[in-house]
């Protein structure tokens, strides 16, 4: 590791994202968005046995305080606009986890007239968690995988990319 030294001081050149990512990945505040039975597993994952709290993950009831949109359940066309609006209200950097078969691809209801064939048709999804419904342990694993991703994330570049997309 390079240490820059001069008279009376020293500096450690590194990437600022690395430093910022560390507290970010240890305080994932997820938006409670439970629309179906996956929501029960999500609540269970917040309980004492899986205890997401020990990773600094707590639920938020407001999208404006959330880092992660955790879509737990079936999304209908009627709900689609609400999902998009919640995503738009979340501050950057933000992530989306599609939990369960319904959020991934429509699941059991993918031939239904009213169900969106996967939440990735509405918002960009970072992590897909398979299962119907996934157990709390699986959700825990998905969130730890997200932590690993956030650790490597160059979110300044990500924000730059997003602002360019908005400008276009």
């Amino acid at each position: 590791m390079n240490v820059l030294q001069w008279d009376g001081g020293a500096a450690l050149p590194t990437q600022i994202d690395r430093l910022i990512n560390l507290p970010r990945k240890n305080s994932i505040w997820y938006l409670l968005f439970a629309t179906a039975c996956c929501g029960i597993e999500l609540m269970q994952a917040g309980g004492p046995r899986t205890d997401l709290d020990r990773f600094g993950m707590v639920f938020r009831a407001s999208p404006r305080q959330a880092d992660l949109l955790l879509v737990a359940g079936t999304i209908t066309y009627k709900m689609a606009d609400a999902v998009r609006r919640l995503y738009d209200q979340m501050p950057e950097p933000k992530y989306v986890l599609a939990m369960g078969a319904c959020a991934n691809c429509g699941g059991l209801f993918q031939r239904s007239y009213s169900v969106v064939k996967g939440v990735d048709k509405i918002v960009p999804v970072d992590i897909y968690l398979a299962g119907c419904a996934p157990r709390p342990e699986a959700l825990n694993d998905a969130l730890l995988t997200l932590q690993k991703r956030m650790e490597k994330d160059r979110w300044i570049l990500r924000m730059k990319r997003d602002s360019e997309e908005l400008a276009v």
């Binding site: 209908t76 066309y77 009627k78 606009d81 429509g106 993918q110 031939r111 007239y113 009213s114 064939k117």
Partner: protein, 183 residues
């Protein structure tokens, strides 16, 4: 009270209305009533015969006509009284009974949303399950889903098509979608 008793009391109370008891090969018997008489018949059944609760209101599309089915429950009776009224496909309009039974409101919204049966004088005639700007009524036999809704693609390839792409020579790839392979 059996359905014959109810039909007889109805005949005595409302002699102008043509009612008929039907029995299928299985299941509960039902009573057919003309669409125009729905409010008066249900009011009579509720006030005079004591059918205090609308257990269910459903719509049926059999391909030729649309049917509204009312299931009325009466305290003391084990079985519901089933009433059917047949509506023409192109003008499926019937009077709302939400003034008689408060819980009919959402049942009627559902029947309107999925089958396009219109209920006159409904206090809140919006769709129930589909978005307000959705086109068509999904459970009608002549319905075909749109290609997209607000930019969200609506079609989903069925399993035959997916298998044909993944495994072009898989067993059963010659079967037409919707047909079952010969066993």
């Amino acid at each position: 009270m059996t359905i014959e008793d109810a039909a007889a009391r109805l005949k005595a109370g409302l002699p102008d209305i043509m009612t008929e008891v039907h029995r299928g090969q299985a299941g509960d018997p039902w009573l057919t009533i003309p669409p125009a008489s729905v409010p008066s018949v249900l009011r009579f059944l509720r006030d005079e015969l004591g059918h205090a609760f609308l257990s269910n209101l459903s719509g049926v599309d059999d391909g030729t006509s649309l049917t509204v089915v009312y299931h009325l429950a009466r305290p003391g009776d084990a079985d519901c009284l089933a009433l059917k009224t047949v509506l023409p496909r192109d003008a499926a309009i019937v009077e709302s009974v939400s003034g008689l039974y408060g819980n009919a409101g959402w049942f009627e919204r559902e029947a309107f949303d999925l089958l396009g049966i219109r209920f006159q004088n409904h206090p809140d005639p919006r769709r129930l399950m589909m978005p307000d700007d959705w086109e068509g009524h999904p459970l009608r036999k002549d319905y075909s889903p749109p290609a997209e809704y607000h930019g969200i693609p609506c079609d989903r390839p069925d399993s035959h098509q997916v298998l044909d792409v993944l495994y072009p020579k898989h067993e059963g790839s010659a079967t037409v979608s919707g047909e079952s392979a010969p066993t």
